[in-house]
């Protein structure tokens, strides 16, 4: 009865504290949305927009075949080819890719004797012209696409010459046949849940868990503040005089904050999954077992609430509680890869990040979201969080007990 009453009291106070709710829900949600939108172009699966001009010297079947083969190759490389067909000029075709790049377009120039030299052992040169702004990855992608398109065009010429391909066949039929003949079965495997996942996470995969963790750790603030208020207004004195000790007072505080933390976890993940796509940002997908997410939520909640208890017991006033919980949260976030992804940090800072429980939680999230890991993969991070929770709660309970023993009968006269 006593424990239930204390928990209900804490729950009611928390739900009526508009500032605490804003800090716990609104602030991380805003951070999540704003930062996900601001960083939307980081580590995207699609290629950055490029303008590409294909210069044809003759309007012949081989050049047109090359054009289609090149467009198909660019598509397989995640370039979005919007208008692969001729733009009307006999000599120039623009493969307009997604987006509008500024300045001179990238050019693929076919030689005059392109068609005639296809079956030669040393075919004529194809020229690629890159504007200086073109990044190395895009150059490499285009180089590969052109090489395969050229090989396919030469194969098509060979098949026609050998009679294996009907002269009357359509361009589409030729492309399909050549495609089948040049198709390679390459199975690409990756060692999941390993390596530097922070560098591979896109904006959504980083920002949703990062600000979720940040928001969850802010539970320290209302916890510490509530305890200070109880002590300052004499309620703690009244509770102590009623004979309530460490057990009910500590246990009465923790479950409501546990619940709030779990609610934050679900709500902010929900924003990542459903709200971000509405804003044009890639939505969050949650691969793997729901149990892994549940385990992570539990460990994270234990860590945040334990730290909250410790801060509540350390602070001596509401001002101290605010400074300690807010300041510590920001420091842990700054060094833990929340504000700046660890992937862009120098090595020393990445090593420093390992001391932050926020970093452990974020690594566990990335293992699930990016590394496609499971419970076994996040277990080391969860154990670290549990160890942290054990240390923080032990310290918190020790200090809390001492504070309770020191409760003064205060008079102001």
């Amino acid at each position: 009865m006593i424990l239930r009453a204390l928990m209900l009291k804490e729950w009611r106070i928390l739900l009526r504290d508009a500032h605490a709710l804003a800090v716990l829900f609104l602030m991380p949600a805003l951070f999540l949305l704003l930062m996900a939108m601001a960083m939307a172009n980081i580590n995207l699966d699609r290629q950055p927009p490029l303008d590409l001009t294909l210069q044809l010297t003759a309007d012949d079947a081989d050049s047109r075949f090359f054009q289609r083969a090149l467009a198909a190759q660019l598509k397989t490389r995640s370039f979005t080819v919007i208008a692969p067909d001729s733009n009307g000029s006999a000599q120039t075709t623009t493969l307009q890719l997604d987006g509008t790049a500024v300045g001179e377009p990238l050019q693929v120039r076919l030689p005059d004797d392109f068609s005639a030299g296809l079956l030669d052992s040393e075919p004529a040169e194809v020229t690629l012209i890159f504007p200086a702004r073109t990044d190395a990855a895009s150059r490499q992608q285009l180089r590969g696409a052109v090489q395969i398109a050229l090989a396919q065009t030469r194969l098509m010429a060979f098949l026609l010459d050998s009679g294996e391909l009907d002269e009357d066949s359509s361009e589409q039929e030729r492309l399909e046949l050549v495609g089948k003949r040049t198709a390679n079965r390459i199975v690409e495997q990756e060692l999941l849940a390993s390596g530097d996942l922070a560098q591979r996470a896109n904006a959504t995969q980083h920002n949703v868990p990062a600000w979720l963790i940040f928001g969850m750790f802010f539970v320290m603030l209302p916890m510490a503040n509530g305890f200070q208020r109880e002590q300052a207004n004499g309620t703690l004195l009244r509770l102590r005089c009623m004979g309530l000790g460490l057990g009910p007072l500590a246990l009465g505080k923790l479950p409501p904050y546990f619940a709030i933390n779990l609610l934050q976890f679900a709500l902010l993940l929900g924003i990542g999954v459903w709200a971000l796509p509405l804003l044009g940002v890639p939505g969050l997908s949650l691969p793997g077992s729901p149990l892994a997410y549940a385990l992570l939520a539990l460990c994270l909640t234990l860590a945040t609430c334990s730290l909250g208890l410790a801060i509540a017991a350390i602070a001596r006033s509401t001002e101290q509680a605010l400074l300690l919980s807010g300041g510590l949260n920001i420091i842990l976030a700054a060094i833990g890869g929340i504000m700046v992804p660890k992937g862009v940090m120098p090595e020393t800072m990445r090593q420093l990040a390992e001391v932050s429980p926020m970093s452990w939680a974020l690594d566990a999230f990335l293992t699930l979201l990016v590394g496609q890991g499971g419970i076994a993969d996040i277990l080391p991070y969860c154990l670290r969080l549990l160890l942290f929770a054990a240390v923080a709660s032990s310290l918190g309970l020790f200090l809390f007990h001492r504070r309770l023993r020191e409760t003064q009968w205060t008079t102001h006269y």
Partner: protein, 294 residues
């Protein structure tokens, strides 16, 4: 009800004990007015009686083992909760159930006139209403001993009368009460026994009537110059008196002496601006006993 025998307490690191050899027995129906200057040991004594601290020396025994109900000086409730929610919370914490719970709730709500304020958030109540809620929560616990520490600070005259009447009711119903306040007129009204602490020791422990009823005095004040004739008369009568800036305070005055002085005063060209005869107030007595020292 409660018995202290040779109780002492020294705070860690302190050279002098906060309480030394305090013996006290408080019985059912007694209301003890606890007085003392700052640092006299009142807070420590309340801490020990409330169970917040354990005596370092001596014995403290509560007859029925119950913890006392207490109304602290601070507004010790949750301002975010409604009045009813606060009362229900503390009723739950006292494990009150069923009919006892209902009766107790109804009683404290009636005694503190909070019935119309039950749905309101405690933090939005007026200062006096908040004080009444603080009072009500302290009374929720059915127990033999109640501690009131500056329980009426900041309340209006009507609320004060209501709360003091409740304290008197508790005493008349056979509960023991320890009442401490810097409004000594309140202590004088509700307490039937006065305990004065000085430097951690009991300086005085007397029945209130016995303490206040021994001596009567006369307070005289003049708007202008003090009449010399009256001072000559006071000296001639060998009455103990204290000269004030604007008058005299004459102590230990008997009826015949009063009549003689009044006859003289009536013949004076200027009448006094104040003439008060009676037993001294607790405040006067306290100032006298404590020597006026801070």
């Amino acid at each position: 009800m409660i018995e202290l025998a040779g109780v002492g307490y020294r705070y860690p690191g302190a050279e002098q004990p906060a309480l030394h050899d305090v013996s006290l027995t408080l019985r059912a129906g007694e209301c003890l007015g606890l007085l003392g200057a700052n640092g006299a040991g009142k807070t420590t004594l309340l801490s020990l009686i409330s169970g917040l601290r354990q005596p370092g020396a001596g014995q403290l025994r509560v007859t029925d083992g119950q913890r006392p109900g207490m109304v602290p000086q601070q507004l010790a409730f949750y301002p975010e909760l409604k009045v009813r929610e606060n009362l229900e919370l503390f009723a739950d914490l006292h494990c009150l159930r069923g009919q006892i719970r209902r009766q107790r709730m109804d009683w404290v709500i009636a005694r503190t006139a909070l019935a119309e304020r039950l749905p309101r958030q405690a933090g939005n109540l007026s200062g006096g209403e908040q004080r009444r809620l603080n009072f009500a929560i302290g009374l929720l616990q059915p127990t033999a001993l109640y501690l009131f520490d500056e329980a009426t600070v900041g309340v209006d005259a009507h609320s004060r009368q209501l709360l003091l009447a409740t304290v008197e009711e508790l005493t008349s119903e056979g509960h023991a009460v320890i009442y401490t306040s810097h409004y000594l007129d309140e202590v004088e009204r509700v307490a039937n026994r006065i305990l004065l602490l000085e430097r951690g020791q009991v300086k005085l422990d007397l029945d209130t009537r016995a303490l206040l009823g021994e001596q009567h005095g006369l307070l005289l004040k003049w708007p202008g110059a003090l009449p010399e004739a009256l001072e000559q008369e006071l000296l001639a009568m060998q009455l103990p008196f204290k000269r004030l800036a604007d008058g005299w305070h004459i102590e230990a005055l008997q009826g015949a002496e009063l009549a003689r002085l009044c006859t003289l005063i009536a013949k004076l060209p200027e009448l006094p601006s104040l003439l008060r005869f009676g037993r001294p107030s607790l405040e006067q007595l306290y100032l006298h006993l404590s020597g006026g020292a801070l």
